[in-house]
């Protein structure tokens, strides 16, 4: 119930955290349309932000949780809010939502992560939320400029992680499908997104081992940082 309108059907009380999060996502998609909103995780290290767009199941939140506890600052695990003129990303720094097998994987991989209770049997399976790290919250007013776009794909069948560069054109078309309001923004959506891909290096990452994936992304970040310095 919100201002006497009821945008959603009620859920059982034990799913209230998940319900709150989905409601929050909905409210942002409805009332922050002046940003280009990309369905993706965003993190930042040494002033360089990385955008990790992904369809559900691609492992975006798992990778996001791992990075957020290994030297990267969490901006968002769900929505990248890109400003129309500047291209900066505004942080949300909210709890990260993990589903099903990811919950135990991250419990092992990030012992410092603070988990909420696990809710079983929601429409998206089992869910648990991780508290946003304290530095992410304290820096919530600090926007970040993206320099990397990586499309993650969890692939249990690959032995070693595979990082494939992709062209800006392909990245742009792919990103459009991950935007909530690309069409609504019209020309502003196009210019913002094309500026974004032209200032970023774009890759696809097929991974199954988190340690390996993190090493690759740290390396990439280092390379990009060097390029911008020189």
């Amino acid at each position: 119930m919100m201002d006497r309108s009821r945008p959603f059907k009620p859920l059982p009380v034990d799913q209230s955290c998940a319900f709150f999060e989905w409601g929050f996502n909905w409210a942002i998609a409805q009332h922050a349309m002046h940003y280009l909103i990309i369905h993706s995780a965003v993190l930042e290290k040494n002033g360089q932000a990385i955008i990790l767009p992904g369809v559900p199941g691609a492992g975006k939140s798992t990778l996001c949780a791992a990075l957020a506890h290994h030297g990267w600052r969490l901006l968002s695990d769900e929505q990248a809010l890109v400003s129309i003129n500047s291209g900066e990303i505004t942080p949300l720094a909210r709890p990260i939502c993990l589903k099903n097998e990811s919950i135990d994987i991250i419990k092992d991989f990030c012992p410092t992560a603070q988990f909420g209770t696990t809710v079983r049997g929601t429409s998206k399976g089992d869910l648990s939320h991780i508290k946003a790290p304290i530095d992410a919250i304290s820096l919530i007013n600090q926007t970040a400029i993206p320099s990397l776009i990586v499309f993650p794909q969890y692939a249990p069948e690959v032995e070693d992680s595979i990082l494939t560069p992709i062209t800006q054109g392909v990245a742009m078309v792919e990103l459009i499908s991950h935007c909530f309001n690309y069409k609504a923004l019209g020309l502003d959506g196009f210019t913002t997104l094309s500026k974004l891909v032209s200032q970023c290096r774009c890759f696809g990452l097929r991974y199954h081992d988190l340690t390996e994936a993190l090493t690759i992304l740290d390396q990439l970040q280092g390379e990009v940082a060097k390029c911008t310095q020189s």
Binding site: D3, R4, S5, H31, A32, M33, H34, N181, K183, A184, L185, G186
Partner: protein, 369 residues
């Protein structure tokens, strides 16, 4: 709870001193009556945008993206509809929101949820056939509802575009055929305006009612509706159209509009709208001229007019957030009952309610097995 948005509309300078919590309530109330984009426009003409805190401005900017996108879509659909119906020799007249967008009057910051067109009754069948082949189809409604629409209403059941999901209301009249106080629609069809859509097709001509008739149609619509969720926005539409009307015409525009209202049997409603605009809004158009004329004796001093005036004063400043209290509920009930009495004589209303309840009982029994 009082209405902050109503206070701001009456005294825009208030925004210079509003606290964060007052702003929050203002935005929530504006959202609930589809006024956010419109409020932004009204504050912009008073040069008050610099006084809006950044977080609040974000809400306005978000609403602007939404209204601009809707208007772009409406413009697209309007040009598609004109093309498609012109092919079979039908020239639709666009009403309400789509007309405001096409004519660039009262479109500022306005939301448009659907498109309304008017086609002559004798071309209705051809229009429906052509629209169906272009992807506009009716949603499933019961046989009784369909029959009721066809027999008594001034429009056919809403059509939805298969791909784009845009909703289209096709009217063949401006009032339900059951309405008690009718106006002469033929008079309105004499002076039709045409507009170009430069951003789409410079050759295309979009037809709407002329500006004074758009004002009067909006006035008629506002005071015949039983519920006023968007009433405040509709009243600002009328105010903005009056601004344009007074700018375009240098002569005695008030007397022209009053004369037109008189011809169309809508002078009561026009006076009520003028009174409410003067009561509720900061003046952006001088309406004094309307009070220089002797009002017909049935207006102004009668108890009926005063009750109606009071009801609308109550209802227009309340919205889904602050609608509480005896005054609001009694006004809402009166307006609801009045609108039904205007549109539907009891000899139709009672059987209609009987049949509707019977269908409801039947479906409940079916559902519970």
């Amino acid at each position: 709870m009082h209405s902050i948005i109503a206070n701001v509309l009456k005294m825009p300078l208030l925004v210079k001193e509003m606290s964060n919590s007052q702003w929050e309530m203002c935005i929530r109330q504006a959202n609930s009556c589809q006024m956010t984009g419109r409020l932004h426009y009204l504050l912009s003409i008073h040069q008050l945008l610099p006084f809006i805190p950044t977080q609040v401005l974000n809400h306005f900017n978000s609403a602007l993206v939404k209204t601009q996108c809707q208007q772009k879509e409406i413009t697209f659909e309007v040009s598609e509809l004109v093309h498609c119906l012109n092919e079979v020799g039908i020239k639709p007249i666009f009403l309400k929101g789509a007309a405001y967008v096409a004519s660039r009057t009262a479109h500022q910051g306005r939301t448009c949820n659907d498109i309304d067109i008017l086609v002559p009754l004798n071309q209705l069948k051809a229009a429906e056939q052509r629209l169906a082949s272009a992807g506009w189809v009716g949603e499933h409604i019961s046989a009784y509802d369909a029959k009721y629409y066809r027999r008594w209403m001034h429009e056919i059941p809403p059509l939805v575009h298969l791909d784009r999901k845009t909703v289209l209301d096709v009217h063949h009249h401006l009032q339900p055929t059951t309405t008690r106080n009718t106006f002469n629609i033929d008079l309105m069809l004499v002076d039709i305006e045409t507009h170009k859509l430069p951003e789409r097709d410079t050759q295309l001509l979009v037809r709407t009612l002329c500006l004074p008739d758009r004002i009067l149609h909006s006035v008629y619509h506002l005071f015949s509706e039983g519920e006023l969720h968007k009433g405040l926005r509709d009243l600002t539409d009328i105010q903005l159209m009056l601004v344009d009307y007074h700018q375009i015409n240098s002569e005695d525009v008030a007397s022209l509009l009053l004369e037109r209202a008189n011809e169309l049997n809508l002078s009561n409603q026009l006076y009520l709208a003028i009174d409410l605009i003067s009561d509720l809004f900061y003046p952006i158009v001088n309406l004094d001229a309307y009070n220089n004329y002797q009002r017909p004796h049935q207006i102004n001093n009668t108890l009926g007019y005063r009750i109606l005036h009071w009801c609308y004063q109550q209802l227009l400043v309340t919205n889904s957030i602050n609608r509480t209290g005896f005054r609001h509920h009694s006004a809402a009930l009166l307006i609801y009952v009045r609108s039904h009495c205007l549109k539907m004589p009891l000899r139709l209303l009672i059987p209609h309610l009987g049949i509707k309840s019977w269908h409801l009982v039947k479906s409940t029994f079916k559902a519970t097995g």
